[in-house]
């Protein structure tokens, strides 16, 4: 369960694939409780990410993630751009080894979560991507495992449906936000699902 350059690239390309094929889904989730652009933003940004990392030379996962971070920051926009941008930047700074092991991965995700929370000032329970990232980090801190990563990401993503938003655009809807999945939590689930798949395939 180790992350090297190639696995990192595979992870990000898989993430891009999921985003592109779920673009309309993410957008329509955002239409229900936001402004209907989350899929469009993510698809635009990760399209560019995918292009930029394809065929480029990288010396470490940190190197790849830094490129992802700056591209996301300048191409996604909206709320998700700076948040994912910060998350990737923090991951890239957390561990500079050529191959990152399970403990290293857990540490990277923990740093990313801290960055997201600092940037967005949201806590768990406010119906944002934090509601996926925090349970994932807690579980991976116990033991990093790709199956469990996918499981926790999915169940906590699904649990956002019943939450009432107090941060992000969905907060304007108050009780009307209940009963809809949080779009950023769904894209975060794709991120973790892609990570799990890439790690499993690299074994």
């Amino acid at each position: 369960m180790n992350l090297d350059v190639q696995t990192t690239i595979a992870w990000i390309q898989k993430l891009n694939d999921k985003i592109q094929s779920n673009k309309d889904h993410l957008t329509s989730l955002d239409r229900a409780i936001g402004d209907g652009d989350h899929g469009i933003n993510m698809a635009r940004g990760f399209q560019e990410v995918s292009k930029v990392i394809e065929g480029a030379e990288f010396s470490s996962p940190s190197d790849v993630l830094k490129k992802v971070a700056t591209t996301v920051m300048s191409k996604v926009g909206g709320a998700s751009g700076p948040l994912y941008g910060t998350a990737f930047l923090k991951m890239s700074m957390a561990n500079k080894e050529e191959t990152v092991d399970g403990d290293g991965l857990a540490g990277m995700l923990e740093e990313a979560l801290a960055g997201i929370k600092q940037r967005g000032k949201a806590e768990k329970g406010e119906k944002t991507m934090v509601d996926v990232w925090e349970p994932v980090v807690e579980a991976m801190n116990e033991e990093f495992d790709s199956g469990r990563l996918r499981e926790v990401a999915q169940s906590s993503m699904e649990a956002t449906e019943e939450l009432k938003a107090t941060k992000g655009r969905a907060a304007y809807l108050k009780d009307r936000s209940i009963g809809h999945l949080d779009p950023g939590s769904v894209s975060s689930f794709y991120l973790f699902e892609a990570m799990a798949e890439a790690l499993e395939e690299s074994e």
Binding site: D24, T27, S28, R31, I33, G34, D35, G36, D37, G39, I40, N41, R44, M73, S74, K75, V76, G77, G78, A79, S80, G81, P82, L83, R119, G120, T166, K167, G168, R169, A171, Y172, L173, K174, R176
Partner: protein
């Protein structure tokens, strides 16, 4: 989706080029960015004033670039706040050493992207500060949540802070007057018909022929309530009921009024609405310093409007009255 556009992916860049083509002597586009600046930027010894946000709010924000108002406007994709690198380009283009003030509308995305740009600029030794506009009373004002949105009242912030900056005031002074405006400006809006996102071709919400959406923002998102359609007077009364108490006005107070169209509201209807707004104010003995009726902060082709009241004192009146060469706010 029926729109007068070419490829939805080119809409922002074409809009910016078309804007510059309309006012080539007044503004220019910073090459390879979505930034519109005064042609004579940076203006020596003047605090630079920057605003921006997602596109789809035209004439905001580029229309407010000009002598006496903004130095730069940064455009994001439709309804998507611009990225830090773009805002940073704007900061560099307008900074003359006197510092730069960012006028941010209170959306998570805008706040984060503009703050990150400010961090980048500070790292390069540029003095940058910011204010966050949150005039939309449709949203609950709570420190535990995202707080209130910034909507049409932002235009008054541009005008008044821009007028003070034009006088050569310091960054601290310009920021202080911007915050004074923010403290005294309240807005609420409604929609008859949603707008359609060009990239997805979908409306932000659905309304039956006898329904309207109260408490909408400027991004096509659903409002706080869907209600049965009512008359112009009833709608104005309802919005005023939310806006007025927030300003705690008394008999001797004066306000500036903005009746802002959302993009597809004909001027005829705005005037009909303004009639009732003015009646309400005059019944309550509130003086009106000046009234603005028109499209200032829109949401693509949404049909609807917002009412903004700004409580003014002598300082704000003087600055509001000052000349402006911004194409969408000539004075």
């Amino acid at each position: 989706m029926k729109k007068l556009i070419n490829d939805p992916n080119d809409i922002v860049t074409e809009m910016l080029d078309g804007f510059v083509a309309a006012y080539p002597n007044a503004v220019r586009r910073v090459p390879d960015t979505t930034v519109i600046v005064r042609k004579d930027s940076p203006v020596e010894n003047k605090v630079g004033l920057i605003s921006g946000g997602g596109s789809g709010h035209e004439p905001a924000h580029a229309g407010f670039v000009g002598h006496g108002m903004l130095d730069a406007a940064v455009a994001g994709e439709v309804f998507t706040s611009p990225t830090p690198d773009q805002v940073f380009e704007a900061i560099k283009a307008v900074d003359s050493g006197a510092g730069v003030l960012l006028v941010i509308k209170n959306y998570t995305g805008d706040v984060m992207n503009f703050e990150m740009a400010a961090e980048l600029a500070e790292a390069e030794g540029i003095k940058v500060d910011h204010v966050v506009v949150n005039d939309d009373v449709a949203v609950e004002d709570s420190s535990f949540t995202t707080g209130r949105r910034g909507v049409a009242g932002t235009v008054f912030v541009h005008k008044i802070a821009g007028a003070l900056a034009a006088e050569g005031a310091s960054l601290e002074e310009v920021k202080a007057v911007a915050e004074k405006v923010i403290h005294n400006v309240k807005t609420m809006g409604m929609a008859l018909k949603p707008c359609i996102m060009p990239a997805s071709g979908e409306p932000g919400f659905e309304l039956a022929e006898d329904e309207m959406e109260i408490g909408i923002g400027i991004h096509g998102e659903p409002g706080s309530e869907t209600k049965k359609m009512a008359s112009a007077n009833e709608i104005v009364d309802e919005l005023m009921e939310h806006v007025l108490p927030e300003l705690e006005l008394s008999g001797s107070d004066e306000v500036a009024v903005m009746v802002n169209g959302m993009g597809a509201t004909p001027a005829m209807e705005l005037y009909v609405l303004n009639k009732r707004v003015q009646e309400q104010l005059s019944e309550k003995g509130i003086g009106v310093h000046e009234t603005f009726v028109g499209d200032y902060m829109t949401a693509l082709e949404m049909a609807g409007f917002s009412i903004t009241l700004l409580k003014v004192d002598d300082e704000l009146k003087k600055l509001l009255d000052a000349p402006s060469k911004a194409p969408a706010f000539l004075k």
